[in-house]
């Protein structure tokens, strides 16, 4: 590693585990940092000196000198004039090789990056039930999607957005113990209040395809993933509960009470479905079809069809 200006290091990583990583590695990364959170060490790289300085300010408490392979790559698009001749470019946060967040605003990118890092603290927290899942909003319907399904459906290629859906960028949600609703993840990272306050002013642009949980949400539908079977199958709430509960991040901390909380969350839904592995296009179509069949194309409940059969198999 070469020493850079202002104490920032330049990156000389040449790990190439896949063609995607190869392509990513060719971008001009100039800063690399390693952090340790809750016993997990990971690397972050960026092509922006300013972003590197911000990382040090925001996450200095967690910095470590251990050499790590970059897990997060924060690409800050060069400033170009907008207008007829200019192109407005996304800034991108990559999780591994997946473009997890795209944003026109650097502060929005920073905010979602901090939200993402809160995941590292989740396994040892008790203040909510944390589930491996993503909240997706389509036609006014809030769908809680298991992480496995969200990963398959939306692996950075914005398939959900193309289907008219917005999704939370993180692959986890917080469920409040008292209300069993999905709530904004309470922040626990040791980041200065000034830095946090500076990030909250920038609104999300709908074009970015990102959904942000700012108030309690009761999802109307749960969608989970199975490896085999028909591409779209209505399932009972019991089956949905099983799938979601297996993805409880802090089950060891909260214990069986977390199962009861997730049950109340699922009990508040009106329909549950599961999608099986198929081509991405088929799965996106099945996702839309599942929502339409349950709620109608306009997101309005479709009457008796909403009732989910208790025969899950």
């Amino acid at each position: 590693m070469l020493e850079g200006f202002d104490g920032l290091e330049f990156v000389d990583w040449e790990d190439s585990e896949s063609p995607c990583m190869d392509k990513l590695n060719r971008l001009d990364w100039i800063v690399h940092r390693s952090f340790e959170l809750n016993g997990e060490t990971f690397g972050v790289r960026t092509n922006s000196r300013e972003m590197g300085i911000w990382l040090d300010r925001a996450l200095g408490e967690y910095r470590t000198d251990e050499r790590t392979t970059p897990y997060y790559s924060i690409y800050v698009a060069p400033q170009t004039p907008t207008g007829a001749a200019g192109i407005k470019r996304f800034h991108v946060m990559y999780r591994g090789t997946i473009a997890a967040v795209r944003s026109f605003g650097v502060d929005a990118l920073r905010r979602t990056f901090l939200d993402e890092l809160e995941t590292f603290l989740a396994p040892t927290r008790k203040d909510a039930v944390f589930l491996h899942a993503t909240l997706v909003r389509i036609e006014g319907v809030d769908v809680l999607m298991s992480r496995a399904l969200a990963t398959v459906l939306d692996d950075g290629r914005r398939r959900l957005l193309s289907a008219g859906a917005l999704a939370t960028p993180a692959r986890w949600v917080a469920v409040d113990h008292a209300t069993a609703m999905i709530v904004p993840v309470p922040r626990r990272l040791a980041v200065s209040p000034e830095i946090l306050a500076s990030l909250d002013g920038e609104a999300d642009d709908p074009l970015e395809g990102r959904l942000r949980v700012t108030e309690p949400v009761q999802p109307q539908m749960v969608m989970t993933f199975v490896a085999d079977g028909p591409v779209l199958t209505p399932v009972s709430r019991g089956v949905a509960l099983l799938h979601l509960a297996t993805g409880t991040i802090n089950f060891p901390q909260v214990g069986p009470e977390s199962l009861r909380t997730v049950k109340r969350l699922v009990a508040g839904t009106e329909a549950c479905s599961q999608l099986a592995m198929a081509s991405p296009a088929e799965m996106v179509r099945a996702f839309r079809q599942g929502v339409d069949e349950a709620f109608g194309p306009s997101g309005v409940p479709a009457g008796p069809r909403l009732l989910v059969s208790a025969d899950a198999r």
């Binding site: 009972s236 019991g238 089956v239 199962l259 009861r260 049950k263 699922v266 009990a267």
Partner: protein, 96 residues
């Protein structure tokens, strides 16, 4: 000659019911189990107070299904529950 078994579920399991189905958490094995409506009903009846034959008769009377069919299903479920470690073993206290 041994007395007929009166199956009893483990008292330390966490059972959460929803719409007649159940998700059971076994803390010892750190495993979750899903029970469909039939399995949930039988699981609830396995309280150590009746034999499989007695329970089967009760279910058959209530459901109108043939005794033999019900008893076959209950015995199958009993085996599955036992294989999954959801039943108390003989001599285990009824309450944890």
């Amino acid at each position: 000659m041994t007395a007929p078994v009166k199956p009893r579920t483990r008292p330390d399991l966490t059972v959460v019911e929803i719409d007649g189905e159940a998700v059971v958490y076994d803390e010892v094995e750190d495993r979750l189990h899903y029970l469909n409506p039939t399995a949930t009903l039988v699981f609830e009846l396995f309280d150590g107070s009746a034999t499989i034959a007695e329970l089967s008769r009760e279910i058959a009377e209530a459901s109108g299904l043939p005794d033999s069919q019900v008893e076959r299903d209950v015995r199958t479920l009993n085996q599955r529950f036992r294989k999954s470690g959801l039943l108390a073993t003989a001599g285990e206290p009824a309450h944890a």
